[in-house]
Symmetry: C2
Subunit: 462 residues, 2 copies
C-alpha cells in the first residue's frame, strides 16, 4: 500500500461484509494474489477482494465504493499481461470468478449468453455436444469477462475475429451502480451509439461487465492442422503475407521463431526442427480444405518451406495448439527465475516482414532472450522478453527494445498493442499512437466515470 | 425556418464566404435540397450550405460555427431514410460531395483510404482493375461518409459485414474543430477505447467524417446468382433461417415478398413470378460455390421453393442486383404521389419467420401498400410504407403499423433499426430499446459536443 491513499474506512468494510460475509476478504495473501497478473509488472494489491456471485452484488459493491470514491477493479483469472489488475490507488477488487454460469445457448441464433467468470475453455466444454464452438483463444485460459476487458484475440482471429467481432451485447454495471445493456441480441443494429464496442477493450475503466452475449460458430466439417519449417524468418513471414493477400480463408496461421521453437520443444515435449516455423489450421468442407491446403503448400514451398507435418487426429491437434498456447510459459523456461515482459504490436501486413526482421536485429543486439511468436495473419506479433524484475539493467534494456519496436510499428501505421491491451505497460505510447484522439478518450472516461473510480490509472490519465 | 432560432449572423456569413467564395450557398433551392432525404420526413432546410473541398475547410467551418454555437450538419448524397439531414435547428450544412477522391489503394493490405464524398459505386469503379471490391451496398448509391454516419449495411452484409465491420479508421473533425484519427491502419488493436466504432453510426452528431480507411476484399474466383420463388412467405423465410444456421458462407440472401416482386417486375422490366422470392448469390472457388449451391437448393426445395433461375453472366447479375437495389424506388411506383416511409427492424434469426408473418398480417389489416424486402440472412427486413405525407390519416396508420413492428422486434430481443439508423424517425423508440444505456449515450454526446452543435436533435435529446 502506498502512502498517498487512505485505507478503506471501517464503514465500507462493514457494509461489504454485511453484504458478502466471508466472501469479502482482507487477507494479505488474497489481496496480493489479486494485485498481480502474469507479467513483469510489480504487484499492487487492492485493500479488499469481493467474491461476488451476482449482478446485484456487483451493483451493491460499486454503489458502496462510489459513495466513498473508492476504486473498483474487476478481476477474472489474473492472466493479463500489462498490469491491468494492479490496484494503483488501492480499493476493492471485484473477483467475478464465481459468476461462472453459461446462462443460455441459443444454438439456432449461433449465440450464447455467459457470466464473466466463465473461461474460454469452460465455454467450449459446455458447447461440446452442440456442434458449436467459441473461437477466441488467448494463450491463457482466461475468463470471458477479462477477454472482453482487454479486447482479447488469439490464433483464430484471422478467420473468426477478435473479441471486438464476436461480442454481440454486454450487461455492465457502470460507475454510479446503474446496470446497462449495450445492445440487443440482433446480429446488427443502427440504433444509436455503439456502446458494445466502447466497453470491449475498456479494461474495466468504464464499468464492470456482468453478462456477455457472444457469437459462436458451427464446428467445420473438416479440420486439418499442419506444421511447416522454414530456413529463414523472411520466408516464413512472406508465405503468411501471400496467403492473406490471396484471401485464403485460413483459420490459423501462427509464426514461431527458432528461439520459440526450441522453447516449445523443451516445454511441450515436441521434436520439431529448431527453425522459424508456421503452425497452420484449415477449416471448411472436405473439398474446401483440400483447396486451401494446395494453395498454401505451394506458397510455402515458394519461400523455402519444408514438407507439411499433418495433425489430423483431434488429440494431435489439441496437443499442437496447447503447445502454441503455452508458448509464453515455454519461453519463461528458457531462463528460470525471469518474468516475461510480453509485448505485442500489430502492423499492416505489407509491413510485417520488415517489422519482424528489424525487431529480430534489435533482439540480437540487446543480448536479451526474447522469442518471437505471433498471430501473423493479422499482422500481429509478440516478443516475450525474459527479464529479472529486480534487475534494473534487464528492465532498462527490455524497455529500450520494446520502445523501439513500438515506435517502429507506429511508423508503419501500426498499433502499440494488437491484443494485450494498454494496462500500465502501454499507457505512455498512447499519445504517440492517438494524438488528439486521446483527448476524446479522456473526455469519455470523465463523462462515464467522473470520480475516476473504475480501475483508475489505466488507459488514460484523467 | 422556425421562429425559435435566430438566422445566421452576418459575421458568420462573411467569414464563411471569405473562406469558400461562391462555394457557400444561401439560395433557397440549394438549402431546400439539403434539408431533405429520400424519406417521408418533411424537409427542414439549413440556413446555408458549405461545399467544402478539404479537411482544412471543414475545420474552418466547424470552428466558425462552434464559436457562435451554430449547428453543423454533414451532407453526402441525401439518400438517408429517417430524416438524418433535416436541419431541425437550422445552421450550416457541410456538403462533402466535392471531397470525392480515393486517396490510397493499399492492395497488399486489402484496404483503401477515401474521402467521405466518394460513393460506393465510384469506389468500386476505381477498384475495377485491381481484383478488389468493396461490398457494403445500401440501395442508394450513397456516399461512404453517409454510410459511415448511418452504419449502413446492404445485401452483402451476411458474408462481408456492415460498415461497423469494414471501417478500419476515420479522420473526424470534432465539435471544437480538432482533427482526430480514430485508429491506425492495423487490422486489429487493443490500444484504448474504440473510437472508430463510436463514430460509425453516430449520424454526424459527434463530428464530421473527413477521411475513411476501409477494408476491401478480393473478387472471388466464382460468383453465381440465382432467383427462387416460394408458394408462401413462411417457406422462403425458413429456407433462409436454415441456410444461416448451417453456416453456409452465402454472400447474399435477400427476401422480396409478392408485393415487392410485382413492383420490381414493373419497375425493372422483369418477369419473375409474383410470389415470395429469394435473390441469392454465392461467392467462392468453383468447387466451393458448387457445394454451397447444392446445400441451399436442397434447403429451398424442402420449403417448397421452385427451380433456381441462374444469372451467370456478370451483366445479368448486375441487372438482378440493380433491381434489388431499386426495390424502394420500385415500391414507390406502386402508388404514384406517395412517399416511402421505409422502416427496418432486425431480430435474432430464430424469431425472423414469426416477426415477418405477424407484420404481414398487420399490413393486410392496415389497408396500406407496404412491400416487405429484407436482408434476411442477418434477421433484418424492411417495410416500404407508401404514404401521402400530407394525409394525416395515412401517416397515422403508417406510424401505428411501424410502432407495432418495432415493439414486436424489441420483444423478440431485436432492434428498432438494423441499418437505416435513428435520424428523426426512430428516436422515440430508443428508450424502449436501450433503457438506462440511453443515459450513457447522452453523456457521451454531452462530453464530445457540449454545445450540441453537431447535427443536433438526432439520436439523443440533450
Amino acid at each position: 500500500m502506498t502512502a498517498e491513499r487512505a485505507p478503506l474506512g471501517d464503514d465500507l468494510i462493514a457494509e461489504l461484509s454485511g453484504l458478502l460475509g466471508d466472501r469479502l476478504s482482507l487477507s494479505a495473501a488474497v489481496r496480493e494474489q489479486h494485485g498481480r497478473d502474469e507479467s513483469y509488472h510489480h504487484p499492487q494489491p487492492p485493500d479488499a477482494v469481493a467474491f461476488v456471485e451476482s449482478t446485484d452484488e456487483v451493483v451493491a459493491v460499486v454503489k458502496a465504493c462510489a459513495a466513498r470514491r473508492v476504486p473498483v477493479i474487476p478481476f477474472g483469472t489474473g492472466t493479463s499481461l500489462e498490469g491491468h489488475v494492479a490496484a494503483v490507488r488501492g480499493g476493492v477488487c471485484i473477483d467475478v470468478t464465481r459468476m461462472d454460469k453459461v446462462l443460455a445457448v441459443n444454438a439456432e441464433d449461433l449465440d450464447v449468453v455467459v457470466q464473466p467468470g466463465v473461461t474460454r475453455k469452460a465455454l467450449n466444454e459446455h458447447l461440446r455436444d452442440t456442434g458449436l464452438f467459441f473461437p477466441v483463444d488467448p494463450g491463457a485460459n482466461a475468463s470471458l469477462g477479462g477477454m472482453v476487458a482487454t479486447r482479447a484475440s488469439g490464433t483464430n482471429a484471422v478467420r473468426y475475429g477478435t473479441m471486438a467481432d464476436v461480442v454481440l451485447s454486454l450487461e455492465v454495471v457502470v460507475a454510479d451502480g446503474r446496470v446497462i445493456r449495450t445492445a440487443r441480441r440482433a446480429r446488427k443494429s443502427a440504433a444509436g451509439y455503439d456502446l458494445t464496442h466502447l466497453f470491449v477493450g475498456s479494461e474495466g475503466t468504464l464499468g464492470v461487465v456482468t453478462e456477455i452475449t457472444l457469437k459462436v460458430f458451427g464446428i467445420p466439417e473438416a479440420i486439418l492442422a499442419a506444421v511447416v519449417s522454414f530456413p529463414d524468418l523472411d520466408g516464413a513471414v512472406n508465405a503468411v503475407i501471400e496467403t492473406i493477400q490471396l484471401g485464403v480463408p485460413i483459420a490459423r496461421i501462427e509464426l514461431l521463431d527458432e528461439v520459440q521453437m526450441d522453447a516449445c520443444n523443451r516445454y511441450s515435449g515436441l521434436d520439431y526442427p529448431v527453425q522459424p516455423t508456421l503452425f497452420l489450421e484449415f477449416h471448411g468442407s472436405e473439398a474446401g480444405v483440400k483447396e486451401q491446403v494446395a494453395t498454401v503448400e505451394a506458397l510455402c514451398e515458394g519461400h523455402g518451406g519444408g514438407h507439411f507435418q499433418w495433425s489430423t487426429r483431434p488429440e494431435d491437434r489439441t496437443k499442437l495448439w496447447q503447445a502454441r498456447h503455452d508458448a509464453a510459459y515455454a519461453a519463461m523456461g528458457l531462463q528460470p527465475g525471469t518474468k516475461p515482459m510480453a509485448t505485442d504490436v500489430c502492423v499492416p501486413i505489407s509491413r510485417l516482414a520488415e517489422c519482424i526482421l528489424e525487431t529480430k536485429k534489435d533482439i540480437v543486439a540487446s543480448g536479451l532472450i526474447a522469442p518471437i511468436v505471433g498471430h501473423v495473419g493479422d499482422g500481429n506479433f509478440h516478443l516475450v522478453l525474459l527479464v529479472d524484475p529486480d534487475d534494473p539493467d534487464d528492465i532498462a534494456r527490455a524497455h529500450a527494445l520494446n520502445d523501439r519496436m513500438v515506435m517502429r510499428a507506429l511508423a508503419m501505421e501500426g498499433t502499440c498493442t494488437g491484443e494485450h491491451g494498454v494496462g500500465l505497460g502501454k499507457m505512455d505510447f498512447l499519445t504517440a499512437e492517438h494524438g488528439e484522439a486521446l483527448g476524446l478518450m479522456r473526455a469519455i472516461k470523465r463523462a462515464l466515470d467522473p470520480d475516476d473510480i473504475m480501475n483508475p490509472g489505466k488507459i488514460v490519465r484523467v
